[in-house]
């Protein structure tokens, strides 16, 4: 509702922050007292096994789900913040594009919902389709594309408004290695331009390419740091082992 206002220079440099964020679905606790502050220009990996609360956290950042406890600020605005939604790109875990419509029509639907003018819609469409290597398939129905191509359409929609914050839920699933490498270099470039990217993955190793990783386990934030630091602190050589060591450390009661 309220127009996002920035308070001081500190909030200018923060992409989003969570203060004591919890979420219950009935008797199930999806998130428990999460505190997290992510500076702009960060490429953040949100890690954790299935059901750890990654998607719930993303949905809370988007305002689709409201937090049961705590407060969330995104791009200087407190939720609900419909006005900043065009500045947030979102690629959900499921496809969430109209498979019976053509690629270009999908970009049209979302572009108009985000309030893009027809000129910027067509120029942005061209840019994002080029980026995801689908320029020659703009006229194809999404249902006619391969699974990986369909994921790329979903990513193209997320990138359409040239957003300041990108929330990507498992963006690399079903994308072949060559293109995945290209995505990563693009994500790094966006981050260097000051864009903030949050991507969930349950492939821990992929996350070593992130600036920082936030590890979720059973709804709790068990670590938030630079990947190499996490590995060093746990004396492990892989992110998988680092995660396991952190989980074991907690359940053993002897947390660091």
């Amino acid at each position: 509702m309220s127009v996002p206002t920035s308070v001081g220079s500190a909030s200018q440099s923060v992409a989003f922050s969570c203060r004591g964020v919890g979420k219950q679905f009935g008797s199930i606790t999806a998130l428990r007292s999460v505190d997290l502050e992510v500076p702009r220009g960060t490429l953040l990996g949100l890690l954790g096994p299935n059901g750890a609360g990654k998607t719930t956290l993303i949905r809370i950042l988007l305002g689709i789900t409201s937090a049961s406890q705590g407060s969330v600020r995104v791009l200087g605005a407190t939720v609900p913040y419909r006005e900043v939604l065009p500045r947030i790109g979102y690629m959900p875990q499921n496809l969430a594009v109209y498979t019976d419509l053509r690629v270009r029509q999908n970009l049209g639907v979302f572009g108009r919902l985000y309030g893009l003018s027809s000129e910027s819609l067509s120029s942005r469409s061209r840019d994002v389709l080029e980026l995801v290597h689908l320029s020659d398939r703009a006229g194809s129905r999404v249902s006619e594309l391969s699974g990986g191509m369909q994921r790329r359409v979903s990513l193209a929609v997320a990138l359409l408004t040239n957003p300041d914050l990108l929330l990507l839920d498992e963006p690399t699933v079903g994308v072949d290695p060559e293109l995945r490498a290209e995505f990563w270099s693009y994500f790094h470039r966006l981050a260097s331009e000051g864009k903030t990217i949050v991507m969930t993955t349950h492939y821990m190793e992929e996350a070593t390419q992130c600036d920082r990783v936030a590890m979720l386990h059973a709804g709790e934030l068990i670590a938030y740091d630079v990947p190499s630091v996490l590995k060093g602190r746990t004396h492990t050589s892989t992110m998988d082992d680092a995660f396991l060591a952190l989980v074991r450390g907690r359940s053993g009661g002897g947390a660091s």
Partner: protein, 362 residues
């Protein structure tokens, strides 16, 4: 509320409908097929209608009257008495019974003759065919130089009530049913489909509001309903030569308004349903009570008294009543205020409820 966003959803949905050839055909062909089925099923001129006759006239005129009845239309069976003629209608063996009393010839001379026609009003078209056959026979046999006939037909309804043709009582109700059949079903499926593909959640991550989402879908389906209303009105007039005395434009408006309410109901169901399968199962529960308890197809008087209050809660009652008043009585918008209010309320409540439920989806 942003019109641009509403229209974005509308445009998207119309693109989906017109892009899918089968759905597109479904949308236009189904109402045409249904109006033809209903039209020919109810509106054709009946032939070989079973009619029992009891002629106890001591003079010759009773027999003259019966002899002049058009034979292709009526199949006459002699009954032993007036009571047995009546019973053949009562028991469903004849659509009508013609009873001519013993003094018919004498009364005819005196100018006060009466014949009784017992009619099965459950088929208005048949009943009116019988009556017009008798009428034409009387005209042929007894009309004087002025064209006036010295006798009266006393129609008595064994079943049903006032005599009517297809176009007279059924067309308005049938139109309302036909027009909303496809739109309601499409509405029932549309949200479920978007929900199952994660699209509702995705759309709510854009500035789109639940109200705008529901209104966008409502508008796109209203366009479908408008196309169907046109098909049905034109078919009624061109194919069935319906003689509508009222405003076609107003009737069109009522059809679309009623469709909007049904779209809202469909979206409401769609928002509650967890799967397309679930949603589809609810369709008969919406369709059949409306067919049976609203006076759209069968006269309300033919429903048991205890069921009659049900009709007041079924929107089709108001839609059919409004359409009948407009098309057949020539009433203007001012005279159908209550119907209009009921239909606006219906559309408002269902669309509002759907919007509220979509919000809860997320």
């Amino acid at each position: 509320m942003s019109l641009a966003r509403v229209l974005a959803v509308t445009r998207k949905s119309l693109g989906q409908i017109s892009g899918d050839r089968r759905t597109f055909a479904f949308v236009l062909v189904v109402p045409l097929v249904l109006i033809l089925v209903f039209g020919y099923g109810f509106g054709g001129q009946p032939t070989h209608v079973a009619v029992a006759v009891s002629n106890s006239d001591v003079g010759p005129d009773g027999a003259r009257l019966l002899a002049a009845l058009p034979s292709g239309v009526l199949d006459l069976t002699n009954a032993s008495s007036a009571a047995s003629a009546y019973n053949s209608v009562h028991d469903g063996n004849a659509w009508a019974a013609i009873v001519i009393g013993p003094n018919f010839s004498r009364d005819l001379v005196a100018g006060n003759a009466t014949i009784t026609a017992y009619l099965d009003g459950s088929s208005p078209t048949t009943a009116s065919a019988v009556l017009s056959a008798i009428q034409s026979s009387i005209q042929k046999t007894f009309a004087g130089p002025t064209g006036k006939t010295p006798l009266v037909i006393a129609p008595e309804y064994v079943y049903g009530s006032a005599t009517t043709s297809f176009i007279d009582t059924l067309a308005p109700g049938v139109m309302a049913i036909v027009v909303t059949f496809a739109t309601t079903i499409l509405a029932i499926l549309v949200l479920v489909r978007e929900k199952s593909q994660g699209l509702i959640e995705r759309l709510l991550a854009t500035p789109l509001r639940p109200w705008e989402f529901v209104m966008g879908h409502g508008l796109s389906l209203a366009v479908v309903a408008a196309a169907q209303s046109t098909v049905v009105l034109v078919a009624s007039i061109v194919i069935f030569q319906a003689s509508f005395v009222g405003s076609i434009g107003l009737a069109f408006g009522i059809l679309v308004l009623y469709a909007l309410g049904n779209i809202g109901l469909g979206l409401l169901i769609s928002a509650v349903a967890q799967s397309e399968f679930q949603a589809v199962q609810l369709i008969p529960f919406i369709i059949f009570p409306q067919l049976l308890f609203t006076g759209a197809l069968f006269p309300l008087d033919s429903i048991p008294v205890s069921f009659r209050p049900v009709s007041e809660f079924l929107p089709l009652t108001y839609a059919a009543d409004a359409l009948r008043s407009i098309l057949l009585r020539g009433w203007s918008i001012g005279s159908i205020g209550w119907d209009l209010l009921a239909l606006i309320l219906y559309a408002g409540l269902t669309l509002g409820g759907a919007a509220a439920l979509v919000r809860r989806q997320a």
